[in-house]
């Protein structure tokens, strides 16, 4: 049996669409939603409820629907969509959900993007008020953006058969939209939901661009777009949602909001059923009853909770043979997968006096203005007792509300509000009014009048549902108030009412009303629950936009990167950099590869890509003076051509970075930083220069990516360098440790520094990034006869740890001083001041039990301590609390030492050298010997080759 009317609705009856729901084939038309197409086939049950497994249908016709959750399976699996907002397309496959969907395990092939838009006046909602507001603002010359969540403008007009100015309302809507679209500077966005309103006129809106095209969606068009709108003024014409009433078994399929049934009739040409009972507390449901009766639905009874029904509407009902019973309510329903009867009772009585057979119950409990965005914009709400709803309670300087979102229910008055709001918004944005927009005159038989405010009908509270999606009942609300909860926010959390996909659009007000009733307080005294974005569900894919996969986070690679890839390097993320981690040969794991790389480097020659090292060019007359304040040691005395290692501290005296400083010229230094700290240290320098010492003549520039930096390391490094830099005297006498030379390396101008992060003879070759790969390959070729070995960050870490060189951020956190690291030698005694110096004199900094950097040698040389392990004093754990002495910061097997070793921060560590301490590893305590942090080549004999 079909429930499609013979004519009417904005659907294309000449085109048939095929779709599948819960495994069964159906047909519909362009213009249908999945919900309307199912209703046309008499299908009301969509799914079942999340906790109780009760059958659930379609309550509303739009995005406020609490129940019709479906999973679309084709063309792409997407959970938790509402059948009432899924536009029908050919080939759609969907199934009903029991409150929970399933994310697709497949990557979403669709594109998503974002667009920025700036305007003078943003109008949200293209109903009568919004259209008039937008047109009024547009005629003033303002840049206007009009967004609306429907696929066509009209708002509430889409669900009625009213005439405006003696012609179908659709014609009036089409004229307004046509003028808007032809006005320069006006943007009309359909299928676009403003879902979040933030400070300073920032509004986020989601546009569904190709969802409705299904399989025909072009892959080149972003499926959804997040509009990031910045507006001077906003007009919220967001309309109102009809409110249900809670009564026993009010959740059966076939029970829906009266105005939604009217929308299904007029917009989609669909009847909700054959025989309906109407339960109302206000006038608007009469229009639904009359319209449906005229379309062939048998209206069995209209129960009006009010003692006096509206005379004219009651007469119209009588003229159509519809019985109206005043002072009565629906107090319960029968049925299983579909409502089969309504139990009618006098409002005051406890038991029904009549059961009416029906397949549809239409409910109207009044209207809730949609105030979500207004509330998000920090507008205060006010309880309107006549309406039984919260309405905007104040004026905001940049946000105006018009239409039924204010609680106004008369179309003419809504349009007038729209015109006023549009004019005021345009004026506030600096525009003078253009031609006045005439207000439409409606022929509606429904004079709007607020009704009786009724939250619930007494009955079985356990079956009287407040939030159908959360399966939360009147009984749950009473349990909350019974438990002593008095605030609406607390009740919301206790009952979960309003926390589902619909965010309580139809349930929140009822819950608030019942709470106030139970507590005997005025709703006007209650603070409504906070509305938060998003207004409707937004997928993470849409929010991510194009920032997925490779574009999720910038990836930085060095100029030599392609060589590393070609030679099988595995990579490690260091900040945004991809750094070679190690270069495994056939069958090697990390452990064996690193032992090989370390051995080759210490015994012959190795090479790594150090280009990621942060590099800051510091120039100016006061550069030396500035660096003296930044580093703990003296930099102004450094001679041109020489290099000094330096440590930087915060004002609290804790180490924040270290690196080398090269004096390039009289007024020029090149500072290097830890890879991950480059940006932070540049910021640090700028902060001091701009906010404390603006009188200093110093300029800092990041040059990290200008240079390719190649440390050439090991006893044979001198031979390799000599082979590619014939003009450079590489002898120890001519090219001392901690100096630098300009030279041609592999035919390229280079700056060669004699610095070492491994204790070995080493040269750091710096060339412009452009030549990085050529120089790298030349060095590889020249080193071939020595077995030159490229190594990665892991080997670098082992080599430096064997020498006790700390890595800032690994050996240190924000509580470690240079003295704790055993680096008092790097702290100037001569300088009158530098950042951190005063803190070194604090009592806290001079405690003898500070954690200090030491080496640890497990007594069993094969045991590798996990990094991060705690360190304790005794070989048996005492009762908790156990005193922790510190933790392991680095731990490696060492080729050079022929055993494992670790670095650690240990309380009074420098005094404990020689002691045995214990490291809990899983269930055992591993004995370790405390040593100095330098474990290899303590005398520094290898430095000069």
């Amino acid at each position: 049996m079909t429930f499609r009317t013979p004519t009417g609705g904005s659907i294309d009856r000449n085109t048939l669409l095929h779709f599948t729901f819960n495994g069964r084939p159906y047909t519909g038309h362009p213009g249908d939603t999945l919900a309307s197409a199912l209703l046309a086939h008499g299908v009301h049950q969509i799914g079942s409820s999340v906790k109780l497994g009760r059958p659930r249908g379609i309550v509303a016709a739009g995005s406020e629907d609490p129940t019709s959750l479906v999973q679309v399976e084709a063309p792409f699996s997407e959970p938790m969509l509402l059948a009432t907002t899924v536009e029908l397309y050919d080939g759609l496959v969907a199934r009903g959900l029991a409150g929970q969907g399933r994310l697709s395990p497949e990557p979403d092939p669709a594109r998503y993007d974002a667009k920025h838009e700036h305007c003078d006046v943003l109008v949200v909602g293209a109903g009568p008020a919004g259209l008039v507001a937008a047109l009024t603002a547009a005629r003033s010359g303002a840049r206007v953006v009009l967004v609306d969540e429907q696929n066509q403008a009209g708002g509430a007009l889409l669900g009625v058969d009213e005439y405006l100015d003696d012609r179908p309302s659709a014609e009036w809507v089409a004229d307004v939209v046509a003028e808007l679209k032809s006005t320069p500077g006006v943007l009309v966005l359909e299928r676009t939901t403003a879902f979040g309103m933030y400070q300073d006129g920032f509004v986020l809106a989601l546009q569904k661009r190709t969802d409705h095209l299904g399989f025909a969606a072009p892959a080149s068009v972003a499926r959804q777009r997040v509009w990031r709108i910045r507006t001077r003024q906003t007009v919220l014409a967001t309309g109102a949602h009809e409110r249900p009433v809670a009564f026993a078994d009010n959740d059966r399929p076939g029970i829906m909001l009266a105005s939604s049934a009217r929308t299904f009739l007029h917009r989609y040409g669909v009847l909700p059923g054959s025989r309906a009972v109407v339960f109302t507390t206000d006038d608007s449901a009469y229009c639904a009853a009359i319209d449906l009766a005229e379309s062939g639905v048998d209206i069995a009874l209209v129960t009006d909770a009010r003692p006096e029904p509206p005379a004219r509407l009651a007469a119209e009902c009588a003229a159509r043979g519809i019985e109206v019973r005043a002072g009565h309510v629906v107090a319960g329903t029968d049925g299983d997968r579909r409502v089969t009867g309504a139990r009618i009772a006098p409002l005051a009585a406890t038991s029904p006096d009549l059961t009416v057979d029906c397949d549809t119950v239409l409910v109207s409990g009044g209207w809730n203005p949609v105030v979500s965005l207004f509330s998000q914009a920090r507008g205060k709400l006010r309880y309107d007792a006549e309406l039984g709803a919260f309405v905007p309670g104040e004026e905001l300087p940049t946000v105006r509300v018009a239409g039924s979102a204010t609680g106004e229910l008369d179309l003419g008055a809504c349009a007038r509000q729209g015109r006023d709001a549009g004019a005021q918004a345009a004026a506030a944005a600096g525009f003078t009014p253009g031609g006045q927009v005439p207000l439409p005159v409606s022929d509606s038989r429904c004079t709007a009048r607020s009704g009786l405010v009724l939250w619930r009908v007494p009955g079985d509270d356990d079956a009287s549902f407040v939030d159908l999606q959360r399966d939360s009942t009147v009984a749950d609300v009473l349990r909350a108030t019974g438990a002593g909860l008095r605030s609406l926010e607390h009740v919301k959390r206790y009952t979960t009412i309003g926390t589902a996909h619909d965010q309580g659009k139809t349930s929140g007000m009822i819950a608030a009303g019942i709470v106030a009733e139970e507590l005997g307080v005025e709703l006007a005294e209650q603070r409504p629950t906070t509305f938060r974005p998003p207004f409707t569900s937004v997928s993470f894919a849409a929010l991510a936009g194009r920032d997925r996969g490779e574009l999720h986070d910038p990836v930085r690679v060095t100029s030599i990167h392609p060589w590393h890839v070609a030679h099988g390097a595995l990579f490690e993320d260091v900040g945004q950099w991809k750094r070679p981690w190690y270069y495994p040969r056939d069958g090697e794991d990390l452990h064996t590869a690193v032992l090989r790389e370390c051995k080759a480097t210490r015994e012959s020659v190795g090479m790594m890509d150090g280009s990621t090292l942060g590099k800051i060019d510091v120039q100016g007359r006061d550069a030396g003076k500035f660096l003296d304040m930044l580093y703990t040691n003296m930099m102004s005395t450094l001679k041109v051509g020489r290099i000094r290692y330096g440590v930087m501290c915060g004002v609290d005296g804790m180490v924040i970075d270290d690196g080398t400083v090269i004096r390039v010229g009289e007024e020029r230094y090149l500072v290097t930083t830890t890879t991950g700290n480059a940006a932070k240290i540049l910021d640090w320098m700028e902060e001091w220069l701009q906010t404390e010492w603006p009188h200093l003549d110093v300029h800092c520039t990041s040059v990290t990516e200008h240079w390719a930096t190649i440390p050439l390391v090991g006893p044979r490094s001198r031979d390799v360098l000599a082979a590619v830099a014939p003009s450079l005297d590489v002898s120890n006498e001519a090219f001392e440790f901690m100096t630098w030379r300009e030279a041609e390396v592999a035919g390229v101008p280079a700056r060669v520094c004699r610095i070492s992060f491994s204790g070995e003879l080493a040269y750091e070759i710096n060339v412009t990034a452009w030549h990085g790969i050529a120089v790298w390959e030349a060095l590889m070729a020249a080193g071939e006869k020595y077995g030159i070995t490229p190594y990665g960050t892991e080997t670098m870490h082992v080599l430096r740890a064997e020498k006790g060189y700390p890595i800032i951020g690994q050996e240190t956190d924000a509580t470690v001083t240079p003295q704790d690291l055993g680096m008092s030698w790097a702290v100037s005694k001569k300088k009158p001041d530098f950042i951190g110096k005063r803190s070194f004199a604090r009592a806290e900094n001079n405690r003898t039990d500070r954690k200090q950097l030491v080496g640890l040698l497990p007594v069993d040389p094969a045991v590798l301590l996990p990094e991060g392990s705690q360190i304790v004093e005794t070989d048996r754990l005492p009762e908790p609390p156990v005193r922790m002495l510190g933790h392991v910061t680095s731990s490696y097997p060492s080729a050079a030492l022929g055993r494992t070793f670790a670095l650690a921060l240990v309380r009074s560590g420098h005094e404990r050298i020689g002691e045995t301490l214990y490291v809990p590893v899983e269930d055992s305590l591993v004995p370790v010997t405390v040593t100095e942090s330098v474990l290899y080549d303590k005398e520094g004999a290898r430095r000069d080759g």
């Binding site: 004002v651 603006p694 009592a843």
Partner: protein
């Protein structure tokens, strides 16, 4: 997303800015002359008012300039912005 009026660039989105804490806390002329407590006041202690608060901001992803702003901590409204070295303007919260 709040707009912050950079005194050099004009209004820009807050994501471009870094917060720098209380303004007008000068590095002491002679730290060595301070007692431990005075030094600790400089290093660790900051105001936390409810209402107008002069604080430092950096237009980090823009012109990279530091500037000062008076913000009402109750509303986040920026009551004034001014360049480093300029005196704090009179504001009404």
């Amino acid at each position: 997303m709040q707009l912050i009026p950079c005194p050099w660039c004009g209004p820009r989105e807050e994501a471009e800015f870094h917060y720098g804490g209380q303004a007008h806390v000068a590095y002491p002329e002679d730290p060595a002359a301070l007692t431990d407590e005075q030094w600790a006041q400089y290093v660790f202690f900051r105001e936390n008012p409810s209402g107008p608060f002069a604080e430092r901001w950096s237009h980090h992803a823009g012109c990279r300039r530091w500037f000062n702003a008076v913000r009402d901590t109750r509303t986040h409204d920026l009551l004034a912005v001014y360049r480093v070295g300029e005196p704090m303007p009179e504001v009404t919260a």
